[in-house]
Subunit: 201 residues, 2 copies
């Protein structure tokens, strides 16, 4: 958190990280849409244009937040994978992350929020880490004879769709928006279970 911001008066010391931390804070408070670069800079104690020394523009800052979040998601997915050898726990971890960091989840997956046009997507690599956890688990379950050993790409994509779909629906759809977290996790689990039946070997 406190990234040893040795402010020397003028030069900040670690403004890039300070801005990311402040951005995460503001995003949590006002949501992904209402976040303003000026407020982030204000929170970090610098003028708003100081940010342009570290980020090309506002979207670049949001992209930075998305990358940090992707790394965090990958960590949490790996932890879940170590706790449990099924797929349900992965789904729950995914959902839990999204509910805990809805704004960051927006930056990660509503690419239009943070993507300029015509530029190769810098989030592609960052996002691969999270996908990898799921893909590995599928292959592992196939090797163990638990899942049907066919089309690992399609099965992986189908499962990711499933997990991502239930997550976004729970996050954004009014019917589910106000249900308690535990109930949401139960739904996610049930959905994955309902589907996993047909994928078993």
């Amino acid at each position: 958190m406190s990234t040893s911001t040795s402010r020397t008066g003028y030069h900040h010391g670690d403004l890039r990280n300070a801005l990311l931390a402040a951005g995460s804070e503001v995003a949590r408070e006002v949501g992904s849409e209402e976040l303003s670069l000026r407020e982030v800079a204000r929170r970090a104690g610098v003028s708003h244009t100081a940010a342009y020394n570290h980020f090309a523009d506002k979207k670049d800052l949001l992209r930075g937040l998305a990358i940090v979040a992707f790394e965090q998601l990958a960590v949490e997915l790996r932890e879940a994978a170590e706790r449990d050898d099924g797929l349900e726990e992965l789904a729950v971890a995914y959902l839990r992350f999204a509910m805990a960091h809805p704004a960051e989840f927006g930056f990660m997956f509503q690419r239009s929020l943070c993507m300029p046009d015509g530029v190769p997507d810098p989030l592609e690599e960052a996002s691969r880490g999270s996908q990898a956890v799921l893909a590995e688990r599928v292959i592992q379950l196939q090797a163990a004879g638990v899942l049907r050993a066919e089309n690992p790409e399609i099965i992986g994509l189908a499962l990711w769709s499933q997990i991502h779909g239930i997550t976004t629906i729970v996050l954004d759809t009014p019917v589910f928006k106000s249900i308690p977290a535990e109930q949401a996790e139960g739904l996610a689990r049930a959905c994955v279970e309902a589907i996993i039946v047909g994928l078993r070997a």
Copy 2:
């Protein structure tokens, strides 16, 4: 389209619909994030504050666009349901709609774009129409003995998650973003098929 805008000089005649039409146009051109109320009003040939006679605020206008889009999606899903008695065609119709109207799809499902706080969600009813098509199809397939006759709510939710998930992934994830529509539809079909296997009776 041309809603007989009998402009009497001062009073527009059908400004509400004209704004929705202009909004849809602007959304298609600049995306859901960059849409500005002023540009919409400009396009409709009125001052930007004229919109406040028909919509409480900007988000209310976007909500109007979402409602129209939900109605359109329901129509297209029903048409698909009439053409085919499987689930895959529904998934493809869903994906096709999202790819054809990405901005509206954003208003529909990124609720934060158009939802004020503390107000009962006016999109709940509008969205029910689209969900209903899928729910009916599930019950129908269960009655026909094609799908396992258990937990229609969970199975319906699981399938909706699946379809919604693959759609948003194809729309927003760089790996898939640039693939041709036919290939995307093939993926959606394959995902649903991979999953439907286990739900068969």
